[in-house]
């Protein structure tokens, strides 16, 4: 995994971390309008980053992304590999 890929993956992970945190907050504060607005913004941001990452480097979720030939999911780049 080269430096550019690692940096973009870290951005995806950071964006998703924000989404997860807001989700947990909203579970117990479902009427907080500001938090819902921030959540919606964060989800959009995460989607944009994911699409960019998947376009350049391959799928993050196997079953949600069409594959090039040969089957891309097995082509390395597991998050524990550097």
């Amino acid at each position: 995994m080269d430096q550019n890929q690692e940096n973009l993956l870290k951005e995806v992970m950071a964006a998703d971390f924000t989404v997860t945190d807001l989700m947990l907050y909203l579970d117990t504060h479902p009427c907080d309008q500001n938090a819902i607005a921030l959540y919606n913004y964060s989800v959009q941001r995460s989607l944009t980053l994911r699409q960019e990452y998947e376009r350049l480097y391959g799928p993050i979720i196997a079953q949600l992304t069409p594959s090039k030939f040969p089957w891309q999911w097995v082509q390395g780049d597991w998050p524990w590999e550097k």
């Binding site: 995806v12 971390f17 479902p30 993050i60």
Partner: protein, 72 residues
Amino acid sequence: MWVYEKKLEYPVKIKNPNPRMAKYIITQYGGPDGELAASLRYLSQRFSMPTNEARAILNDIGISFSKLLTIK
């Protein structure tokens, strides 16, 4: 339903490998009071929660705890 994502919940960089510390940390994963046990406890408790909020938070925290297992 579980779906694997090819990324981490949070990135961790190990600067100084420490086998004694690693032995301790692994018990925080799989031990009786570890993340795995906590995750399954939350996921069981969600079935008997009386409110929407309580069901949602136990479901989502149960999932979050299982994601901690993939941090490396």
